[in-house]
């Protein structure tokens, strides 16, 4: 029954995709030639106007571009012409660095806050005020203090990944069942061993949820941050292709950004399944 369901869902997905591509193709294909216009005006308007074809690329154009990028993802022809693979590698490594730093800060600090009601109350106003700030609002401050655009992007990723992980770690740690803590207490388990053998496993599913939210936000923000700081990365690539008026490349990038985001999310979802325990 479940297999049948999966099969049916898969078929439906394919049908929807086909319909979408068809609508896309028809919408950008142009149906009829525009009426004859003054040749000089037509020349000014470019070929698309005279053939009635939209400037918007069709699915076949995007597929061709995608294939071209996939065939040679790592070429480097100077600062404005790098392969999609290289640009993605820049973005992913920035996210990895900023996100990794955020993990290193958020989880220990989250433990501290979660285990101490005093710290929890004292730090709550800071978290509440800093959490809703758009990560990009930190950008000027980062550029001014760090004086390096690439590091600033990493800092912005750090700051936007921090809050969901911190808040979820606090929530997970402070929500550790009293009875499990009492087991550790009656067994005279020391604070460090207790943190690693009782609180960490108990809070792990909640912490992983926070990490999953964070990686999603980080991947959203890196595109915007790279549009601002420029130079390298998938966000810069999108902006650069917009300036080149290469809508084909922009759409291709959108697809690739979505795919990478999905891979990052699924990786953490898998990790989350590993630490989740049935009760």
């Amino acid at each position: 029954m479940r297999i049948a369901m999966g099969l049916r869902a898969g078929l439906l997905s394919l049908a929807l995709l086909a319909a979408l591509l068809l609508v896309w193709q028809v919408a950008v294909g142009g149906i009829a030639r525009t009426e004859a216009m003054d040749p000089e005006y037509a020349a000014l308007m470019g070929q698309t106007a005279t053939t009635g074809k939209s400037a918007m690329p069709g699915p076949m154009d995007v597929a061709a571009t995608l294939w071209k990028h996939l065939k040679d993802p790592f070429y480097d022809h100077g600062p404005n012409d790098k392969g999609l693979g290289i640009q993605l590698a820049y973005s992913v490594s920035r996210v990895a660095l900023g996100y990794g730093l955020a993990v290193l800060v958020a989880i220990p600090v989250g433990f501290l806050i979660g285990m101490s009601p005093l710290m929890s109350r004292a730090l709550d106003p800071f978290i509440q005020i800093l959490k809703p700030v758009s990560p990009l609002a930190w950008m000027p401050l980062a550029l001014y203090t760090i004086k390096d655009s690439s590091l600033s992007a990493i800092f912005v990723i750090f700051i936007c990944s921090l809050w969901p992980m911190l808040i979820n770690t606090v929530f997970g740690v402070s929500g550790t069942r009293r009875e499990w803590l009492n087991v550790a207490r009656t067994l005279e388990v020391g604070p460090v061993r207790r943190a690693f053998t009782v609180i960490l496993p108990a809070a792990a599913p909640t912490i992983l949820t926070g990490m999953r939210i964070s990686i999603g936000i980080a991947w959203l923000v890196i595109v915007a941050a790279e549009m601002l700081v420029g130079g390298t990365g998938i966000g810069y690539f999108v902006w650069n292709e917009w300036n080149n008026l290469s809508i084909t490349n922009v759409i291709t990038s959108i697809l690739v950004i979505g795919l990478v985001g999905m891979v990052l999310d699924q990786g953490l979802a898998r990790a989350q399944r590993l630490v989740t325990f049935p009760e």
Partner: protein
């Protein structure tokens, strides 16, 4: 024997502070403890105060009383999970200052760590008790404790795969595995169905008799108390609960759960306990304790036996219970 060496009892510091030699009569000595909680209006609600209770070494004591009389608080204080507002508890000649591996707790809700297997849960306790023991020794000891409660073969199951009764068995195995001086049980069987409860009561009784374990148990169930306990502590209703009396169980040590209600003296004891729970626990609180009540020495009672019961016990000895 050398392989068992890591499991030898840890050297214990000499009794300090108490200034009194531990005696078999007062292996556990609850001395004048009180527990108060802040109440609205700046006053404090007293759950109980000036509570004194001795427990002998190797004795099985059940505490019986209505909800709110502070039974669980007493047990938590014994476990070291809660601190008394006043007074002290002395165990084996030493005042307790917190939780200890000497006092194992079997929790009402089994409190197994769900991310660990059965073996992992028990081994966690064993390795806490003997931190320097080798992995194989820890595992061997954990397996032995699991086998004692009849769960051999389920070592690698997760708690989620076990029934309620099996989970509680793991809880018992975990408590026994650390070789405690005292076993503390907080209504351990109350969440189980009657059949499972009976089987587990049998197991606990067998294990406690075999090991000579000192046990302090809280229960709502009069029949459970009669079957398991050597002495039954009756608490009046809270707040300001008191130890009304300590009832000696007149039934012989050799008991058969299924034949218990035919045992001479059974009904005298049961009626005494039921009368207490139904009426006296309330009247004693409302009308005050009888004259001459000394909280330091709660009266010890042996329910009056009918002549037939007395004759039966004197004549036939424990064998009558096996009939």
């Amino acid at each position: 024997m050398s392989t068992l060496l890591p499991f030898a009892r840890r050297p214990r510091p000499a009794p300090a502070g108490a200034g009194r030699a531990p005696s078999a009569e007062r292996f556990i000595s609850i001395e004048g403890i009180a527990r108060r909680y802040p109440a609205p209006g700046g006053r404090a609600t007293t759950i109980f105060e000036n509570l004194w209770l001795p427990v002998r070494r190797g004795e099985f004591v059940c505490m019986v009383g209505h909800s709110g009389c502070g039974k669980t608080t007493v047990l938590n204080i014994l476990a070291g999970l809660d601190a008394p507002s006043e007074g002290t508890v002395i165990v084996d000649g030493q005042a307790i200052g917190g939780p200890s591996l000497d006092r194992a707790v079997i929790f009402q809700g089994h409190a197994l760590l769900p991310w660990r297997s059965v073996l992992g849960n028990v081994a966690y306790a064993v390795s806490s008790r003997w931190p320097r023991a080798k992995r194989a020794e820890v595992e061997a000891r954990a397996r032995k404790a699991i086998a004692t409660v009849g769960l051999a073969g389920s070592e690698h199951k997760r708690p989620a795969e076990l029934s309620g009764g099996m989970k509680q068995r793991v809880g018992i195995a975990r408590a026994l595995s650390i070789d405690p001086k005292i076993l503390l049980m907080d209504e351990p069987f109350s969440a189980l169905d009657a059949l499972t409860r009976g089987t587990l009561q049998d197991e606990v009784r067998r294990i406690c008799i075999e090991t000579g374990q000192t046990v302090f148990m809280i229960t709502h169930d009069v029949d459970e108390a009669i079957y398991l306990a050597d002495r039954i502590v009756l608490m009046t209703n809270g707040p300001e609960a008191k130890v009304a009396e300590i009832v000696e169980n007149p039934l012989p040590k050799a008991r058969d759960r299924t034949q218990l209600h035919h045992a001479p003296g059974y009904y005298a004891l049961r009626n005494h306990l039921m009368d207490f729970l139904v009426t006296r626990s309330k009247t004693l609180r409302d009308e005050g304790m009888p004259a001459g009540y000394d909280p330091r020495r709660p009266p010890v009672i042996r329910p009056a036996l009918s002549e037939a019961d007395a004759a039966a016990i004197a004549g036939a000895g424990p064998d009558i219970l096996r009939a």
